[in-house]
Each structure stands twice: as structure tokens, then as C-alpha cells.
Symmetry: C2
Subunit: 189 residues, 2 copies
DNA sequence: TCACTTATTAAACGACTGTTTAATTTGTTT
DNA sequence: AAACAAATTAAACAGTCGTTTAATAAGTGA
């Protein structure tokens, strides 16, 4: 290497990223110490600084790129509600969960701007493109807000009313709410 | 005073509570240092420990009691959506905001249990009592989730699509989404 | 094996955290 | 004014934070 530029090992950098994603989604940004992340990755703390510059740099590299909903946009939009609600409820809480990382990092002022940019480009825009009718962007925002609010209340806070003992036959409240926004029934009249 | 019990001044305790509420709702639980709260209240840090025991005790005394929606349940439920959406958008960001405090403290494991209890008793239960139709509790949870998600995305993250350049004539996406849950159109059929 | 670069680590830095102890001011009563 | 309790403060505690520096280990080509 010519001068004092940083030297990297892709294997180690990935291990740090994986550990950071797990920790950020399970404990949030503020409560995730760099030493805890480094221990989880099996490396020394100093490597985080060398590879990602700072804690903020690590978060920016770890979380925002994972925020997308492409896995939800394939398929007919007439079944978006049930499809989204099903996947939302089937997610395992173990490991990394982008939505939980988003919710638990939102309070931090250093994370919010990057989250906003990523959500605008990777969630709102592609989702709005699949919505018919008026105010597609605003409705896409409402869909994102509804899903995030559901996770905030059910997984982060632990509200049990949302777990809804509904039988497999009836549509869940989440599916109904989401589909209504997709269909664009603005209730005029 | 007989023995070593604590001595309190209601005026000072209130000043601390007011400062704590402001700080918790604007900066979140983790990012709110006790010294910053004490400075905002114009008192010494040690007084917080003497009056509320710990940072957790201060939060429990400050935020959970303010979580209620009685101000939204007076009036016809047929206009709940527009009423809620209007108030949600008219709130000033200055001062104390219970919903923002809730969102920004949710990531902290010491806050979540108390928030859950307060929301169950002071939001879900009274709201469900005003809902007709099936699954009132689950739908009450969805209403809370929708409002919280809206605030999370619009006020905390700053998603602008939700600010919706909608004219005053058309109903906002938030109002439509909320009213749909209230009406209980589960879309069966 | 030697030299050299890459990769990783141990250790320390100053700053800040929540909490506690002891000293001091303020206010009231005798 | 003297005595006492109530209320507040300054200072220190041990711990953790993100970050940086210097030393060590691992890997590679000559």
C-alpha cells in the first residue's frame, strides 16, 4: 500500500456489519455500545473505528441499505394487505430486522436524516409507483407509517391487543387497514 | 420531620417534571441526561435523585400518566378520523408532547413495560369501549398504531410525503385510514 | 529467513453517565 | 437571635462511552 490509507478485510468488515445490524435492531442505536458490537462480531473495538470511521458511519453502512420493500411489491396489489400482514406477523424476532432497527434508531438525531433519505428512495417512491389513484405518495407514506406503527406497538412496546386472537379465516385488522389505503377509498361522499 | 424520610417541595418537583417531559419528548429517554433536565428545571442534579429516586423513577412519574386520549373520545365517533387527524397536525412541536415522548422512549427496555401498561389502560381500553362491531380491542390497537406510526414517520423521521399538500377540502390520508378502522369495514366478502 | 505490508490488538484518553455523600443554604419556630 | 429542620447545592464516585495511539500478530513475496 502506497501511503497511510486504511487496510480492510472484507470478511471482518462483514462480521462487524452483521453484528451491528443484530444489535441495532434488538437494542437500538443509543443502547448499542461499540464494545458490545465488537464482542458479538468477535473482533476488537478499534477495528470498528478503522473500518467505518465512527459509530455513526457504522450505522449508516449497516442499516439504511437494508430498508426496502421489494419483497412486498411483487404480486398483485389487490392482495397487498394480506400479503404484508402475513409477512409482518411471520417474521422471527431473532437476528436482524430492518423495521425494528428503524424504529429503535429513529429517536437518535444522527440516524434520522439517513433513515429519511433511505425510506424516501427505497420505500415511499417504489411503493407509490405501484399505487393507483390520487395522492399516491401520501398514501405510500401512510402504508409505511401503519406498518411501522404496528411494529412499534406490537413488537417494541408489546401491546397484546394487536396480537388479536383472530382465527385464520378472518382478515387481520392490519391487513384490512393496509388494503384500504392501497385501494384508495378516501371515503368521499 | 421525625426521622430520615425525604423532604420535598412540590414547586421544585413540578419544575423537574415539566423539564423532564420536555426533554424526554424532544430528545428521547437515552439521550436525556439528568444534568440537562436539572439545568432546564433550574435546580441541582442531586434533587432528581432525592425526589424521584432514579432516572427511571423520574420517567415513570413524568410520562405514563400523560398518555391518554380522553380529548379525542368526546364527540361523535363518526367524525373520529377527521377530529384526530386535525389535532394530530395542529399540535405544536414546542413544549411537551406525550406521543413523541412515547415514540422516543419506546426503544428503552426500562420504559417499554410502563408504556405498555399505561397505553392498555388509558388508551386501548377507553377507545375500544367506544368502538362498535367485532374485535374492538384489536381495532383500538390499530388506531393507536396508526397514529403513532404517523408521528414516527412525519415528526420523528421527517417524511415529507405525509405532510401531503392536500387542500383543506379533501380528507387527509390519516383521517381516512383512522375512520376506516373506526367504522369496522373489515372488507369481508 | 528476511523484510515488508496488512491486519488486529491492548491500552489509554478525556468526556460524560447515573448516583451518592457531605456540606451549605434557606426557612421556620422558639 | 438562637436552634432546629427543611431544602438545596457542590463535589466526588465508579462506570461506560466513542475514539485514538502505539505495539503486536499474521500474512506475503523475495
Amino acid at each position: 500500500m502506497k501511503s497511510g490509507s486504511t487496510a480492510i478485510s472484507a470478511r471482518t468488515a462483514d462480521a462487524i456489519l452483521v453484528a451491528a445490524r443484530k444489535r441495532f435492531s434488538s437494542h437500538g442505536y443509543d443502547a448499542s455500545g461499540l464494545r458490545a458490537i465488537a464482542d458479538l462480531a468477535g473482533v476488537n473495538v478499534a477495528l470498528i473505528g478503522r473500518y467505518f470511521g465512527s459509530k455513526e458511519g457504522l450505522f449508516l453502512a449497516a442499516v439504511p441499505p437494508t430498508l426496502d420493500i421489494s419483497w412486498l411489491l411483487s404480486g398483485p396489489m389487490s392482495e397487498f394487505g394480506t400479503r404484508a400482514a402475513t409477512i409482518m406477523d411471520m417474521r422471527s424476532i431473532r437476528g436482524f430486522d430492518p423495521m425494528l432497527a428503524l424504529i429503535r434508531a429513529a429517536a437518535s438525531p444522527v440516524c434520522a436524516p439517513a433513515l429519511k433519505t433511505a425510506l424516501d428512495r427505497q420505500v415511499i417512491a417504489p411503493l407509490a409507483g405501484r399505487l393507483d389513484g390520487v395522492d399516491a405518495e401520501a398514501r405510500a407514506g401512510m402504508i409505511l407509517a401503519t406498518m411501522a406503527g404496528y411494529d412499534l406497538m406490537m413488537r417494541v412496546i408489546g401491546i397484546e391487543a394487536l396480537r388479536g386472537g383472530v382465527g385464520a379465516q378472518r382478515r387481520s385488522s392490519l391487513a384490512a387497514a393496509l388494503q384500504h389505503i392501497v385501494d384508495g377509498d378516501t371515503g368521499r361522499g
